[in-house]
Symmetry: C2
Subunit: 250 residues, 2 copies
C-alpha cells in the first residue's frame, strides 16, 4: 500500500456493447473490485472494434491514470483486434508468444480441436508484455506498461482480475458510510449542501430511491480516506437530518 | 429518416457508477433504443462529478457525433452539477427557467413539500435549451444544441427518452441477423475471417457463449444497412459453417 492516490480507467472494447446486443457486466464488477482494494476508477470508455478508436482511447487513458484495464477483443476471430491495437499504441511489435503457444497446445490436447490459425491468433502478444493467466479457457490476457488486457466474457475477465490484483499497487482505501435519510431529496438538499460545504475534504453523494413503502427516499453516502473524518461527517449529516425532519414535522 | 449515418454518444455522469455503488442500467437501454430507431451509438464515457471532467468529455463528444445523451447529475443536491457543466461547455449562462419553475410549483402543490432552494436548483437550465418533460417526477431534462440531458434514475431517463425520440433525426437502420454456429469459436475463426474479408461492406461479429449443454458455442452476428446484402452474407456464413462442420466430422 502506498500513501499516494492510485487511479484506474476501464476501456471496454466491442461493437456488441454499443449496439446493445450484449449488456456490459464488467464495468460494475471492476469498479467494485478496485474500490475494495484501494484503487479509484476515474473514467470508463466504451469504443467500437475499430483500430484508430481503440488506439486513441488507450493512449488518452494510459497517459492519465495509474492503470488501464481493457476488456474484450482478444478472442480467435477477425473482429478481435485488441492485441494489435495495444501493440500499435505502445509502438511495439506483436508476435506469437512461446508461453502462450505452449498454453494453447496443452489446452487443445486436453479439449480436442486443432491449433489452427484462429487459435494461434490468441497467442499473439505485444512485445514486452507479461501474460495474465486464464484459468477458465486457457487463452491468456496480458500486461504491458500500465495496461492490463483481459477477455470480455465476464467469468474469464473475473478470473484474470484475480490473477492481476495481488500485483497491483494500491492506495489508501476510500471508506464510505451510507445514511438513510427517510426524507425526500428535495427536502434536505439545501441543508446537505451546507454540510458538504463545511467539509470540503469529504465527498458527500445523494442518491434518491423508491423505498419499500413506494415513496421517494434518499441515501446519503459519505466518503473519505480518513476514518475519523468519515465519522465526523456522518455525524454532521445525521444531525442535519434530525433538525430538518423536526422542522418538517411542524 | 435520412440517408446519412446518424451517430450518438452516451455520457454517464456520476461518482456512484465509478465507485461501483450503483450499477449502470442506462447504457444498454439507450444502446438498444438507438439501434432500434436507426442511430449508431459510437462511444460511451463515464466520468465523475467533477466540472472540468464533465466539460472536457462533453466537448469531445459533441464535436464528433450527431447527438450526445447525458445521464445523471440533474437532481436537487450539491453533487448535481450537470446543468452547470453543460452551460459552461456551451459558453452560455444558466438561470431559473420559468416553465421549469411552473412545473415544479405544480408538482410541489400536488405532492407536498416546499419549493425550496434545493428544488429550485432543478429548474436551473442553460440559456437556449428546450425542456424535456419528465412524466415520472416532474423535474425536467433539457436539450441544447446536439446534447440531450436526462436524469440518472432509469425509470425517469426512459420516460425522457420517449419524449425526445420522435424528434431525433434517424438514419437507415442497421439490420442484423444472428446465426448460431453450434461450433467452438476457435474451430471456425479462420474461415469466418475469410468470409469477413470477402464482404468488407458488412460487419460480422463473433460472440462465444456457453450453450444449454454446458459446452462452448458461438453466435455469429451479421450486420448491414442493406437487406439484400444481409441475406447474402448470412448465406455465406451458413455455407461456411456447413463446410467446416462436415470437415470436423471426419
Amino acid at each position: 500500500m502506498t500513501s499516494e492516490i492510485v487511479t484506474a480507467a476501464i476501456l471496454v472494447i466491442g461493437d456488441e456493447i454499443l449496439s446493445g446486443r450484449t449488456k456490459d457486466k464488467n464495468i460494475g464488477y471492476i469498479a467494485d473490485y478496485m474500490t475494495a482494494i484501494g484503487i479509484d476508477v476515474k473514467e470508463v470508455r466504451v469504443v467500437s472494434d475499430d483500430e484508430p478508436e481503440v488506439v486513441a482511447a488507450l493512449n488518452a487513458l494510459r497517459a492519465r491514470y495509474t492503470y488501464v484495464f481493457t476488456t474484450g477483443g482478444i478472442g480467435p476471430t477477425h473482429d478481435d483486434i485488441t492485441a494489435d491495437c495495444i501493440a500499435k499504441a505502445f509502438g511495439v511489435s506483436i508476435d506469437y508468444h512461446p508461453e502462450a503457444v505452449a498454453i494453447m497446445k496443452e489446452r487443445v490436447a486436453k479439449m480436442g480441436g486443432k491449433l489452427n490459425e484462429a487459435r494461434m491468433r490468441m497467442t499473439r502478444i505485444p512485445a514486452g508484455a507479461a501474460l495474465v493467466a486464464n484459468k477458465v479457457s486457457g487463452a491468456p490476457g496480458f500486461w504491458i506498461g500500465n495496461v492490463i488486457t483481459m477477455a470480455g466474457v465476464p467469468s474469464i475477465m473475473q478470473a484474470m482480475l484475480d490473477e492481476v490484483a495481488p500485483k497491483l499497487k494500491t492506495g489508501v482505501k476510500m471508506l464510505s458510510a451510507s445514511v438513510r435519510a427517510d426524507a425526500k431529496e428535495g427536502d434536505i438538499g439545501t441543508e446537505l449542501g451546507a454540510v458538504a460545504k463545511a467539509y470540503p475534504d469529504a465527498i458527500i453523494g445523494s442518491y434518491p430511491f423508491i423505498d419499500e413503502n413506494g415513496g421517494p427516499n434518499t441515501n446519503i453516502v459519505v466518503r473519505s480516506r480518513d476514518a475519523g473524518k468519515l465519522d465526523e461527517v456522518r455525524a454532521a449529516v445525521e444531525a442535519m437530518l434530525a433538525k430538518v425532519k423536526a422542522r418538517l414535522a411542524h
